[in-house]
Symmetry: C2
Subunit: 156 residues, 2 copies
DNA sequence: GCCGGATAGTTGAAGCTTCAAGTGATCTAG
DNA sequence: CTAGATCACTTGAAGCTTCAACTATCCGGC
């Protein structure tokens, strides 16, 4: 028998998966709603600005930035185009290797991020961090890492 | 001082939040990719079929189904329209209260779900459930519930 | 040197979600 | 009994993401 009955989830496993699925479905809209309302920014746009702000010279190659933000290069390209239009990011080809493009956070972009950060941190605290015990915060690091490691290992 | 310096995240809290954010950004595409490739279904479409399949008479009101699937009524309405076009779901007004609409899983829809379920369960196992220890699976129930409870309490 | 392949990024179309506005049914106050 | 409010749902447009195709640069062998 090549493909017999699959191993269905046990009741506990089902509850865990449903709990995670609910978070996957409902947390992103909640985060986006706050950022959209208070800063007219999507969560992914915020991540791009935040990622650049912590890089040396506030500059990162597009591909490195995409990996940092857990997004595809195509998605990033579209988003950076929008951010460039608002003068929060600038793009310039890398002098050493013409294939690379460097994205740089502008002064305006940094100001925008600084203004938006408190509100964002506040909702992350109230919906996630402050909802969990200290142990759970530690557990979340391990749980999240294990899941993303599995996703990384998918190209096998 | 009305709004002083916000309480930034501690290093451990940051790592936990980043780990969760990575899951939010990368797990849904991974699930969608498998379902799209093997069943030409989005994860949300799968959830709709699965939700109906477990309901009495494989029928649920649109608004109850939306809540069950953690989606907006508008989103569900669009998705059910697509599923109806493929003859996997049927809609009919509720006789008792003309405001409600009942969505029913068809025989074809049930067959489609049955055919898609093993592949979906397999990826949920390999990316999530089997990646975690027993304790972590239990913890995930509590962590996820706490987060969604906070989101529920947002209308305050 | 130069051709083929690999790498980095962009683009446009198609598809999905959200938002705001709209429809129609039912409740409720007077 | 009826006018207005509320509720359940739908719709169309706008915006975002994905996918596949494309451009442009660089490396490696000959």
């Amino acid at each position: 028998m090549t493909s017999s009955e699959p191993r269905w989830l046990s009741p506990v496993e089902q509850r865990a998966w449903r709990a995670l699925a609910a978070v996957l479905l409902r947390l992103p809209p909640a985060l986006d709603a706050q950022l959209q309302r208070d800063a007219r920014l999507s969560h992914f746009e915020y991540l791009v600005l935040a990622g650049l702000s912590e890089a040396p010279a506030r500059t990162l190659r597009m591909s490195d930035l995409a990996a940092l933000c857990n997004g595809s290069l195509s998605r990033l390209s579209h988003v950076v185009k929008r951010l460039e239009k608002r003068d929060w990011v600038r793009r310039s080809p890398c002098p050493e290797d013409g294939r690379y493009i460097n994205a740089t956070l502008t002064e305006d972009g940094f100001a925008k991020l600084s203004a938006s950060a408190p509100g964002h941190v506040h909702i992350v605290r109230s919906l996630v961090v402050d909802a969990l015990s200290e142990d759970q915060v530690e557990q979340l690091i391990d749980i999240g890492t294990r899941i993303t490691d599995r996703i990384d290992g998918m190209a096998s």
